[in-house]
């Protein structure tokens, strides 16, 4: 059972959002986020994970999988700090950080890096998941810096 991560309010480092429209494949992922759980599909045939959500195992093509709660621990694989506002609503959020994080369990996901100065983000930085209720019924994940040694 993964320890549920706290909700954060970090508006000063978070871009206001276009909201995701869940699909049949992705709905369980977003429902888990609303429970403050990060879950990833895991294949019952070959035991590997994949992301983003799909209706089949990306590795062995089996459709027998489950949504596994994962640790929420990850490492920054890469990142980029946005300085251009792609919409007027985003202008007061600049600069904000889009990251690709590599989960301890393997898959990588696109997210935001929050809770730190954008200039301090580094490739390989250890991070942990946090959750943000951005709208009625919509919770998104983000990742913040994590102390590696002695993490619970």
């Amino acid at each position: 059972m993964v320890e549920s991560a706290p909700a954060i309010v970090a508006e000063e480092t978070r871009p206001r959002r276009v909201l995701p429209q869940p699909t049949a494949d992705s709905r369980p992922f977003w429902e888990a986020c609303a429970r403050r759980e990060l879950t990833i599909q895991r294949c019952n045939s070959c035991e590997r994970h994949w992301f983003p959500p799909s209706n089949r195992c990306q590795h062995c093509w089996s459709d027998d999988f489950w949504w596994r709660p994962v640790s929420g621990h990850a490492e920054v694989y890469s990142f980029t700090v946005f300085h251009r506002a792609y919409a007027p609503e985003l202008a007061d959020q600049l600069p904000y950080v889009v990251g690709v994080v590599e989960l301890a369990e393997g898959p990588r996901l696109i997210t935001n890096i929050v809770g730190c100065d954008p200039g301090s983000v580094r490739v390989r930085m250890p991070v942990e998941v946090v959750f943000d209720d951005v709208a009625e019924g919509v919770t998104l994940h983000a990742f913040r810096p994590r102390e590696k040694a002695g993490a619970p």
Binding site: S78, Y86, A87
Partner: protein, 386 residues
């Protein structure tokens, strides 16, 4: 096995840059007519069309055929993004060898500069029904626009290999330098490293100077078989070989943003053409962003992976450098026509048709690349002077 029996006999582009009132299909027709004329051919000779337009225009080859009054034996429009234009030349070569057609028009057109002016506000754009998948996994996190994807690659390359902002700057400065000698280029004023470093940031590490242009423009070439090519006015440019590779699993998977699909595509092309990197006299590389030039220079074996920054900073891309690259100014400075101008320039260099200040001396082999299709499709062409 491909028999090396195809050759490019005509190459041309439309007006480039800011062409108010232009349409994609109008620009395409202009480039097509000019390419056929350049080949010394006429309308009745064309029996194949592989052209591509904006992603929101269906069956672009039908639009062109209608406008040019052409029924044609073999036509299609490819869907590999920026890898499509080099792939069109590959497909044309195979179609000719297989007897599907004898003379194929390949090209691309988009009135991108005009579209940028016509679109509604950025707010309207953000609220447009974008593709559900993009919206869910990118837009929701503020990940918009073209630069971010390659910026992620550049950022990681900097962390792993010590590549610097200045290294990327040398790409921008080198390619702009070529454009200063191209009367058709969209950006012709010299770019200094200081100006590059002061450039307005888009998304790190990219500034505006790391990004290709928005261009109204079209490019086209005509491909036919070698024996016929030798009867036509221009020196034929043989399609000597090609290779492709597509990291469909995704840009963020494995090391795809560091060792890109160019590496496997290039390996296949070199083997197919029976040449090595040392044999290549000039490279026309798909330069959507400065980082992709650096990554391809490494992936194509012109230097080792990780050494691209220093190699380029040493002047490697210049006309008298180790590998003269994007010699008409690339998409960074001549104009973005989704890789089609790289095909055209490869042909022009091998024909030796440029004035001496733009000509790679005694160019015999050119490498032309295409990259795109959600950032993971890649085509490599090896062209040879007859």
């Amino acid at each position: 096995m491909y028999g090396r029996s195809a050759a490019i006999v005509g190459a041309a582009h439309s007006k480039l840059g800011e062409v108010p009132g232009s349409t994609s299909i109008g620009l395409m027709a202009d480039a097509a007519v000019a390419a056929v004329a350049d080949a010394g051919l006429q309308r009745s000779d064309i029996d194949g069309i592989i052209v591509r337009g904006p992603d929101d225009e269906y069956c672009f080859q039908q639009q062109l055929g209608e406008r040019l009054g052409l029924n044609a034996a073999f036509t299609t429009s490819l869907d590999n993004g920026g890898a499509s234009q080099a792939l069109a030349v590959v497909l044309a070569s195979l179609a000719i060898e297989a007897g599907l057609a004898t003379t194929v028009l390949c090209g691309y057109a988009r009135n991108s500069w005009s579209r940028t002016r016509q679109r509604g506000s950025r707010k309207a754009r953000m609220n447009q029904a974008t593709h559900v998948r993009t919206r869910e996994w990118r837009d929701s996190f503020g990940y918009f626009g073209e630069p971010a994807t390659h910026a992620l690659g550049a950022q990681r390359h900097m962390a792993l290999c010590g590549t610097t902002k200045e290294h990327l700057g040398h790409v921008a400065v080198s390619v702009r330098e070529h454009a200063t000698r191209n009367p058709h280029a969209q950006m012709r004023s010299p770019l200094t490293m200081d100006e590059y470093l002061q450039g307005r940031l888009v998304t790190t590490p990219f500034s505006v100077y790391d990004c290709s242009l928005r261009t109204d423009g079209a490019g086209a070439v005509v491909v036919t078989d070698v024996s016929r090519a030798r009867d036509l006015p221009r020196p034929p440019v043989i399609v000597r070989g090609f290779g492709s590779h597509n990291n469909l699993r995704g840009w963020t998977v494995d090391d795809h943003m560091i060792e890109t699909a160019a590496q496997a595509s290039g390996e296949r092309a070199y083997r197919n053409a029976d040449v090595s990197p040392a044999d290549i006299d000039t490279a026309q590389l798909y330069d959507c962003f400065t980082y992709m030039v650096l990554a391809q220079i490494e992936d194509y074996g012109f230097c080792a992976k990780g050494d691209g920054g220093e190699f380029i900073a040493s002047g490697a891309l210049a006309l008298d450098g180790a590998i003269p690259t994007n010699t008409s100014g690339g998409q960074l400075s001549e104009g973005h026509v989704e890789g089609m101008l790289q095909v055209v320039e490869g042909v022009r260099q091998l024909r030796h048709e440029h004035p001496v200040e733009r000509q790679v001396p005694d160019a015999r082999l050119a490498l032309v690349s295409g990259h795109g299709g959600n950032t993971v499709c890649h085509t490599t062409l090896i062209l040879e002077r007859d």
